[in-house]
Symmetry: C2
């Protein structure tokens, strides 16, 4: 299916690929997930489904193939925990693909909104609209002093996680990068590889997000995240300027070779392809690569070479080696 | 100048790129090079020049640019020693570029003949014709028991060195390769990298040649060389078959990636380019690479990316970095 849910918002216009808002909410009348049994979970999921605006499509998690589940994971629409969960769950996605709601993840409700580029305010407005719609018929667990109550205390307060997906191909190679993480974490901001903590960084793509929500307003959280993101992007810009001043020709060589390998390889791992795509994206962005741009964004291509996406496209399970061939073929069709 | 002397005989039809014969001769009336002074050397060079067939072009070594000298070195037409020599020297090349004569190298006369592919008999006949022409007017240092006398005893006897330039991209990666050298050396045959002893092997190209000439006839020397070369090529064939049976897809991946890097790199060293060209040659030869063949042979391209050739084409001296860029550009124009 050419489902828009399988496309990924993102731009090739600058370091910021996309903006994301996530709201964590729980219903007052149900226990938190630690204490929730199957029948209560089923009732809760049904109730929230009814409260979500009617233009949302409800996906039956049980009927999704493993590849399709992986696709949602690779797109950050669902969490690994959510897929492993054995109680009744639900996943609802708006037809315009901008918002999704996980029902009975760690919290009863997880609203996520993603927008291409730097558009956190838009993403927040969209998420808030869904939040308001649910709240219009159901009562959230809310404490006047603490704010929204959540299964994990780190989300208590606004229940808000705001994040940007950013591309830092030049900064990640510098020593500066190592000192940056402790510096921004003092402001409650964290920087992780594209697939979260503990996963290897790939393709120079990082998520920058707030770590805590308690005792802050939504506006404050977003303000601090934006300030820190601006700082990080400034550092990326400095690293890039320095690189283009002192090693422009070397960098062009790296970028063109990356293009050559993407255009010709017969077998390629996710990690290598991501790193080469990162170089090519840098090449397009800063005029270092004189080749036609693909019609898809590089970020979209980065998603589509992930294992789940590849298997969904093939319509079958593939082992790692088969995927490495399928990935190379997919890339050859794009970069010719 | 588009001089045919700057093209290099070679084929892309199989493992044997070219066949080479070298005859070492000295004139009876002049001392060997260890005892030769400048005026005697000048006289000797003049005398031999007169005896070489008149369709040979005489190059003035002093008037050749450093790049042109390097070109002859890269083509194995002259030796490094010959270029360093400060006594009068001479280099004569037939207009059909099949034979060259170094005057006053280690020996007074070094006749070399090169033919594309497996054509040692042709090369020998051509060299012998020049040898006969010189001998018709000048007397060689010849001993009825030892044969032709030479400056270095290893060349005494027939004064013949026969060699093939062969491409062993599959064999060189195997353990077999290491045991092969001692095995063939028992038969007085040696295998060296494209630029001789002490130089790193590049592009899977090797010279296989006889090491001694004393006590053997020309026919025996050539026979043993041909037998040993056939053995080596058989081993290359086994290694290739094994590789194509068990790792065909991996090998195709390597070959296509090599093509991609040759087609796109902006900067490339001689060594890397040679190794990638080796893969591409393998790809063309065994139908693993579905890309149009360049009009030049891969061996010719391998010569033209050498430092001297590149500088001669550019018409100026270039430092290593400049050459790496020029080499990449040259290759991009061939592989598109």
């Amino acid at each position: 299916m050419n489902n828009p849910w399988f496309t990924q918002p993102g731009t090739d216009e600058g370091p910021v690929l996309s903006s994301r808002i996530r709201l964590a909410r729980n219903l007052r009348k149900y226990p938190f997930h630690q204490k929730l049994n199957a029948s209560a979970a089923a009732g809760m999921v049904a109730e929230i489904s009814g409260a979500v605006p009617s233009d949302f499509y409800k996906l039956d998690m049980q009927s999704l193939s493993e590849a399709e589940q992986k696709v949602f994971l690779e797109k950050h629409i669902v969490s690994p925990e959510f897929l492993r969960w054995d109680l009744p769950r639900g996943l609802m996605i708006s037809n315009d693909q901008n918002v999704s709601v996980m029902l009975n993840e760690e919290d009863h409700v997880r609203i996520q909104s993603v927008r291409p580029g730097d558009a956190l305010a838009d993403a927040l407005a969209t998420a808030n609209a869904v939040d308001d719609a649910i709240e219009a018929t159901l009562e959230y667990a809310f404490h006047t002093e603490y704010g929204f109550l959540t299964a994990c205390p780190t989300n208590t307060g606004t229940g808000l996680r705001a994040s940007y997906m950013i591309h830092l191909p030049c900064l990640e190679r510098t020593d500066k990068f190592k000192t940056l993480l402790p510096a921004i974490s003092k402001f409650g901001i964290t920087l992780r590889g594209i697939y979260g903590e503990g996963t290897e960084s790939m393709g120079g793509i990082y998520q920058i997000s707030n770590q805590t929500t308690l005792g802050k307003t939504e506006e404050e959280i977003i303000q601090v995240l934006q300030n820190m993101t601006r700082k990080v992007i400034e550092h990326e810009g400095h690293a890039r300027e320095k690189m283009l001043t002192t090693h422009r020709a070397d960098q062009e060589n790296i970028i063109y070779r990356a293009y050559g390998v993407l255009a010709y390889s017969r077998k390629i791992t996710t990690k290598e392809a991501m790193d080469l795509l990162s170089e090519v994206r840098l090449g397009y962005l800063y005029g270092l690569l004189d080749r036609p741009r693909p019609t898809k964004t590089i970020y979209q291509i980065m998603m589509e070479i992930q294992p789940g996406h590849l298997q969904r496209t093939a319509g079958r399970e593939m082992d790692e080696t088969e995927r490495d061939y399928a990935r190379a073929q997919y890339l050859r069709e794009i970069f010719v």
